[in-house]
């Protein structure tokens, strides 16, 4: 019996409606969440980079606007700054780029997801939420391709269903869930301070993906 696979990093993306969705998820995470988290939320390019500090006032997990070459720290939610792509560097630091827009967006969810997939492979959990775009679909595909786990918000529960629907239709995510179930999954898949048996009830035991 193999124990529940423990993940190494989480990447999340959302567009329209993402403020409320991220607020709900971040509120559920503890102050000492064991994984590093990187987030792309589509915002106006002129938005100040401190915008995430105001998200979910009661939350315990600290949030930070990502800076180029900062370490990708566990227990912190790092947000892409407006008008720059956020990527995860091979040495597990954060990297910003002014490359052209992808899916009409900078930051782009695909760019973050694809870069993180290349670093963490099977150790990556990718989460795609509400939005009115098709950004994120290729990112989810790439995470699947490299053996990671992917979760997409159930389009019927999303404020804007287009983006999650695109991923559900074209990228075969591992799970399609509502926001609270996604938050629970983030907790279940994080390494625990003490060894535990897989929580079978949550249904979160990852499938054994075959690898080359």
């Amino acid at each position: 019996m193999s124990p529940a696979r423990s993940m190494q990093a989480v990447v999340m993306g959302a567009s329209a409606g993402g403020w409320a969705a991220f607020s709900r998820i971040l509120t559920a995470l503890p102050a000492d969440y064991a994984l590093p988290v990187a987030i792309v939320l589509h915002v106006h390019p002129g938005q100040g980079e401190d915008f995430p500090l105001h998200m979910a006032p009661g939350r315990r997990i600290p949030v930070r606007p990502a800076q180029d070459k900062d370490p990708f720290l566990p227990g912190v939610a790092h947000f892409a700054p407006p008008d720059y792509h956020l990527l995860i560097e091979w040495d597990k630091t954060l990297s910003l780029s002014a490359d052209p827009k992808v899916c009409h967006s900078r930051p782009s969810i695909d760019v973050l997801f694809e870069s993180a997939a290349s670093v963490y492979g099977p150790g990556l959990l990718g989460v795609l939420l509400t939005g009115a775009s098709s950004d994120g679909t290729n990112g989810i595909k790439r995470i699947n391709e490299l053996g990671g786990l992917t979760v997409v918000q159930d389009p019927d529960t999303a404020e804007h269903p287009t983006m999650p629907r695109s991923a559900v239709t074209h990228a075969s995510p591992w799970r399609v869930l509502g926001l609270d179930a996604i938050a629970q999954l983030l907790l279940d898949l994080a390494p625990k301070p003490h060894p535990v048996f897989p929580d079978l009830e949550s249904g979160a035991t990852p499938p054994d993906r075959s690898r080359p």
């Binding site: 180029d68 990527l87 910003l96 780029s97 002014a98 490299l146």
Partner: protein, 286 residues
Amino acid sequence: MEQHELEQLEIDLFLEGVYRRYGYDFRNYARASLQRRMRGLMAATGHSSVIEMLPKVFSDRGFLIRVVDALSINVTEMFRDPPFFLALREKVVPYLKTYPFIKVWHAGCASGEEVYSLAILFKEEGIYDRTTFFATDFNAGTLEKAKAGIYPLDTMKKFAGNYLAGGGKAALSDYFHAEYDSVIVDGSLKKNVTFAMHNLATDGVFGEMHLILCRNVLIYFDAQLQCRAAGLFDDSLVHGGILALGSKETLRFTELADYYDMLDEKWRIYRKTGATYLAAHWGAPT
């Protein structure tokens, strides 16, 4: 070996090969965005792996140009980040005005939009005529575009907005001639600008400068290559000279941070004072 590790290995081998074969050194570029562009090149040229492109680039110089184009990111604008240009006008021009002649190095000038923006600003501030601009890039094709100074008419609308937000004193169209669906930079903006090839990863210093602008280039380098480039800038700048970086770039990974004053924190404008250096080595004056 997992698939994602295999691709990283292939990229390392490819970059080493390109360097040893042609001298183009991308080995210290930040890997994450480089990998993305390599994958784009792969898709565009019908290759199914990075390593497949190695024999191709070895035997075909034309393909090397594709590689260099893919790995240099040439996106740029006129008056990109308008408040930066306001800060230049308000905080930097007063220093420059004290010099009888001014030398400016614009490193990583891409297709030239930014150097002509600077030239316009210098004109409006009355210091263009005593200034020489050295605009450099390592991408030959891009540099040709910069020299030509011809841009699509439809981009000018956005640029005109940037220009005004950046403190422009006239109309942007005053500096261009429209021709069909293009605009051409006026000769009076070009006359003091010299364009040249220069690679920040492999070339050296070529003159003493009063202002160095290098924006959205260091962001593509790892810390080691950032240090090399910053060293070139430091060796080029006169005492009191000014260095302007992109808004997400800093000197914090280089040894220079202590020897420069921050003229504008948000827009990463530094002034070489050496004061801290002198204090550290000789004791603060009493």
